[in-house]
């Protein structure tokens, strides 16, 4: 196995973590929106920002796999 494949596996693992994180954010945001439809806009924008933070972690891994 060359270095590239290992890096790809690493990026995949990071993607799992980020996927779980973003899924949780999205799910909870949906729940919150259903509970308080009048807060829809605020919840959506903060969910997007939080998803961006979580996503950054996976993207760091992708970049590291580009670095190989």
């Amino acid at each position: 196995m060359d270095l590239g494949s290992i890096a790809a596996i690493g990026a995949g693992l990071a993607a799992i973590g980020a996927g779980v994180g973003i899924g949780k954010i999205g799910g909870q945001a949906m729940e919150a929106m259903a509970r308080q439809p009048e807060m829809h806009g605020k919840i959506q924008s903060s969910a997007l920002i939080l998803a961006a933070f979580v996503e950054a972690v996976a993207l760091f891994a992708v970049v590291v796999s580009f670095l190989k």
């Binding site: 924008s45 920002i49 961006a52 996503e55 992708v62 970049v63």
Partner: protein
């Protein structure tokens, strides 16, 4: 080859199932798709035999990288084996003098074979990077990692494909917003008409959803020009990256571009930081002294990680989108059959639609996080 194609087809089947599980009405479409998937697994067989001929092997990685990276000329399409390309100027700073020539002098070569001589210096284009050959070398030589050993990179400020597209986007932006501003001047009661009616909600979105809530009622005005400019600059370049005919000038998926914009955000954050901001970095209030000492380096790293994550987020999102679309398209060439094209095109279309949303979301995220950092830097003490 066969195993690979089989795997891909199984993946496609699973996806297919997942997509159509809910709706029974699209059964016919499902069967058609399955047929296509079956076909592609057979044609995987077929192509195995035909590769005996010593034709140029299709390398998806190379193709994708070529499309994602910057280039000297604006390659439009191939015609009878010739590339039709818009030549762009190459500007090199060598030994205190500027050397300029058009990219067409390389004759579309990017393997370091065509040598251009100017002012006694010889240049080659290797993988869309200009190398300056050492004085006694006559051809590019490589080490075992396929890396040039007898050449060096000069300071290169060429007008590349990305710079060209950036200027096009700047012209579009200037046209759009100066026209919008003129519309307001024309109407006596500042009523938005024509294009201004379309642009005003976007501008107000940046002001009311990004500027005011992130920075605060009193200070947002100073940052509005920057936020608006960066939002529309990123957005329009994201969109330009998706237009196929301009060959996906992947400007906002280029790390140099995102690096520069993130640096601007970092500089503005640092210079607008007030006493409270620096206190929270170097001497965190409300925690015991050993903790303060422990937290200071972490906060300093955090200060730097913020713009770095901005840079990487935009770069990786846009590049990943391009890579996925190109990878789906290269499936057609990997399998060497037109039968896989519907699947590829369908998925590429699906991803492309998502990418259109991503163009706006990433511009929003970059702007909103920049605004958030400015807001943190200018926040007053409240405890």
């Amino acid at each position: 080859m066969f195993v690979f194609s089989e795997n891909v087809c199984r993946f496609a089947q699973i996806l297919n199932k997942a997509f159509f599980r809910e709706s029974m009405g699209v059964k016919a479409l499902k069967i058609k798709l399955l047929a296509v998937v079956m076909l592609c697994s057979f044609s995987g067989f077929g192509s195995e035999d035909s590769t005996d001929k010593k034709q140029e092997e299709f390398n998806p990685k190379e193709m994708i990288m070529h499309h994602v990276k910057d280039a000297y000329g604006f390659h439009l399409w191939d015609w009878n084996g010739h590339s039709i390309a818009l030549p762009l100027p190459i500007l090199l700073w060598v030994d205190g003098e500027m050397i300029t020539f058009m990219s067409s002098e390389f004759h579309h070569d990017s393997n370091g074979e065509v040598i251009v001589e100017r002012n006694g210096h010889r240049f080659v284009n290797f993988h869309e990077k200009v190398y300056q050959l050492d004085s006694e070398a006559t051809a590019l030589a490589f080490n075992e990692d396929n890396y040039p050993i007898n050449a060096s990179k000069p300071l290169d400020i060429s007008i590349t494909k990305n710079v060209f597209m950036m200027w096009v986007s700047v012209l579009v932006l200037l046209f759009l917003f100066i026209t919008t501003a003129r519309k307001y001047k024309q109407s006596p009661d500042n009523v938005p008409t024509g294009i201004a009616g379309f642009m005003e909600p976007l501008i107000l979105f940046v002001r009311d959803e990004i500027g005011v809530p992130m920075i605060g009622e009193h200070k947002y005005k100073r940052y509005m020009p920057y936020l608006l400019t960066i939002f529309f600059f990123i957005w329009i370049n994201n969109i330009f990256g998706l237009i196929p005919i301009v060959n996906g000038a992947n400007l906002s998926g280029n790390i140099a571009f995102t690096f520069t914009l993130a640096t601007f955000t970092f500089i503005i954050t640092t210079f607008s930081g007030n006493k409270n901001y620096w206190k929270h970095i170097f001497w965190m209030p409300g925690v015991p002294v050993p903790m303060k000492i422990f937290l200071a380096p972490i906060e300093v790293i955090g200060m730097l990680v913020k713009p770095i994550s901005l840079m990487i987020r935009l770069f990786a999102n846009i590049t990943a989108g391009h890579i996925i679309i190109l990878a789906l398209m290269s499936l057609i060439f990997v399998f060497k059959t037109i039968a896989v094209a519907p699947v590829s095109v369908l998925f590429a279309l699906f991803i492309a639609v998502i990418e259109i949303i991503v163009t706006a979301i990433q511009a929003y995220i970059f702007t909103v996080l920049s605004a958030l950092y400015f807001g943190m830097a200018t926040e007053e003490e409240h405890h």
